[in-house]
Symmetry: C2
DNA sequence: TGTTAGCACTCTATTGAGAAGAGTGCTAAC
DNA sequence: GTTAGCACTCTTCTCAATAGAGTGCTAACA
């Protein structure tokens, strides 16, 4: 597709632009890098690369910058397989050891370290309840009118909620209800439970109307604990250091978006694929980040997809480094979760 | 202290500067507001107010802006008792009704609505576990090697953690341990428990060494669930709309600070007093916000302090409106928490 | 004695012209 | 195919001039 020399020049331009944020000129390129070519030759090649769609010119007498297609080619064909350095592995391992004491913190600190290593915003989605399997629920006493319902998932995640005890129901009745529900629902995913709930229960109503009416109401309350998918953010302020966001106007929308968890999960929900996936500029569906790139990878435990790690930054991003970090982290996180006795 | 006319002029200057963010000149003041005074007279008064320390001049031929002392006088002496409008009460009530479905969301949405109404950053601290009273703990089975310990507080808050079951301990043993612990610790605050834990347990070791060694280990694990005080943030991006933060340099530190939960609780932990408290500019202890003001109020349920609501903004802030919102919200939040069957 | 009009002065922000710098594209020579 | 040379383009920086807003002082006025 592109001959060797064009590839080398394109690669050099991307590298230079990523590190300087300034359009790259032929003269600078020749001076700064030992390409063994004169500025004029480079000029010709650059002109070709522009016609082919890999480069753009902000205006006539400026240097070239990579086009989205240019970045795409760079990521797909010019980048060596991303590999994290020994040193970084040490930093990460140490970080987890010294900072993380609870499950909640695993995600928070994962977001922090990713953002620190990539100097970009990081996003980490925690496991979704709806994909988990129901193990059992149990009622705990609180006072005469109220009880706590605790829902335990297969993985050992616990959600809880305070509920009203329906009029005329004893705590004994509740335990009876729990036993029934557990027998029926154990091993189902919360998605399945939601869908099959009504039908299941309706059949039972025929045999014991009063009790199961109550059970239905309670289960509904209990399942309402399902929170929206939690997204942990790290390094939002990193954006401010990027020259493309030097202007407050340009960063406002982006920061506002990062405050909206719903939008965030939209950005991340686009892939189920294996490995590290890069989405560049216009390829992003959400219009607020058309000048940004997203690098993401799902993490899994024992083959099952648990959540997503992602990095959001300007299209002018250190793709190699970022991909290497995520490549490492998405494997490492699975192992860390195991250590924390979950999964 | 200040005669009536000076007060009126100072108040007008503060009001104008708060809404325009431009230094206020005598001519503008005379033209824009019906003070019944000529620019020259106003000039004289302004000159006096500057000598008295209530006004400042950015440079010789600019208008005046309020000094911190000016704001202080404005807040203490010139502001009518803050009162929220009927309309706003409606908006808030409606907001809670349509948006809030769980306890967690109460705090998140409270932060959001405060920031929306005040157009500033809001901070809401959730109740602290360490101030709560221990009610009981209970073990739930997970698998052969692990169990879930659930800790219930007086208020119905539930914390949980996956623990390893010590070698040679049966689930029966665990329930025995739970019963013992509950008997001993019920009604104590988590602070007290932490302090008295070792002594209590040590006495018991004398009577049944093996079991209580185990209990000690487990209790330690269980109490480690105490998370750092959670701070909910709202409207961080509102800062970007303020002229004083038009420059990215000036906002970076502030946003970085908002990412550090520890710093946030420092800012908020300064008062136990009643009512709405305003801290202006230099009065703030944390140097990162010397050009900001903090308005805060504690909220309580049945007399007990539960947490803090706060607004952080530039010293040029709509104090009246902000104080009114917090004055209302700190009462309203207590009631809302009751509705959610907690406390 | 307090208030006001007038005026000279100060400081900032804006504008426009000119120069510097970086880069391109084309042509011709190697 | 590669390179040197050169005219041309476009942005950015600098600097001076100017307009605008506001002050402080003085003198006049009620």
């Amino acid at each position: 597709m592109l001959d060797e020399r064009k590839r080398r020049i394109l690669q050099t331009i991307v590298d230079d632009y990523v590190s300087t944020a300034e359009p790259v000129g032929s003269r600078t390129l020749a001076r700064k890098y030992s390409l063994g070519l004169s500025p004029a030759t480079i000029r010709n090649e650059m002109s070709d690369l522009e016609v082919l769609g890999f480069l753009e010119q902000p205006h006539t007498s400026a240097g070239r910058i990579p086009s989205p297609q240019g970045y795409r080619f760079y990521v797909d064909c010019l980048l060596a397989p991303p590999k994290i350095s020994e040193h970084d592995v040490g930093v990460i391992t140490n970080w987890y050891e010294t900072r993380v004491r609870s499950i909640e913190e695993v995600f928070q600190e994962t977001a922090k370290i990713i953002s620190r290593m990539t100097r970009s915003v990081s996003l980490v989605t925690a496991p979704q309840l709806s994909k988990s399997l129901f193990k059992y629920l149990q009622f705990l006493p609180l006072d005469e009118r109220r009880a706590i319902v605790v829902v335990v998932t297969d993985a050992g995640f616990v959600e809880n909620k305070v509920i009203d005890i329906p009029e005329g129901t004893s705590f004994q009745d509740l335990q009876q209800i729990a036993a029934n529900i557990n027998e029926r629902l154990a091993g189902l995913s919360f998605d399945e439970i939601k869908h099959s709930l009504l039908r299941e229960i309706r059949n039972d109503i025929l045999t014991n109307p009063a009790l199961f009416e109550t059970a239905l109401a309670i289960l509904r309350q209990a399942l309402a604990v399902e929170r929206a998918e939690k997204v942990y953010l790290g390094g939002t302020t990193q954006l401010l250091d990027q020259p493309e966001f030097r202007d407050v106007e340009k960063i406002r929308d982006l920061l506002a978006m990062l405050e909206e968890e719903k939008l965030l999960s939209d950005i991340l929900h686009m892939q189920d694929g294996e490995g590290v996936v890069v989405t560049i500029g216009q390829e992003n569906k959400y219009s607020g980040i058309k000048n940004c790139s997203v690098v993401q990878a799902t993490y899994r435990v024992e083959g099952q997809v648990i959540g997503t790690l992602a990095v959001l930054g300007p299209t002018r991003m250190e793709y190699g480094k970022t991909m290497a970090v995520l490549e490492f982290m998405h494997r490492h996180l699975g192992e860390t979760l195991k250590k924390f006795k979950v999964y």
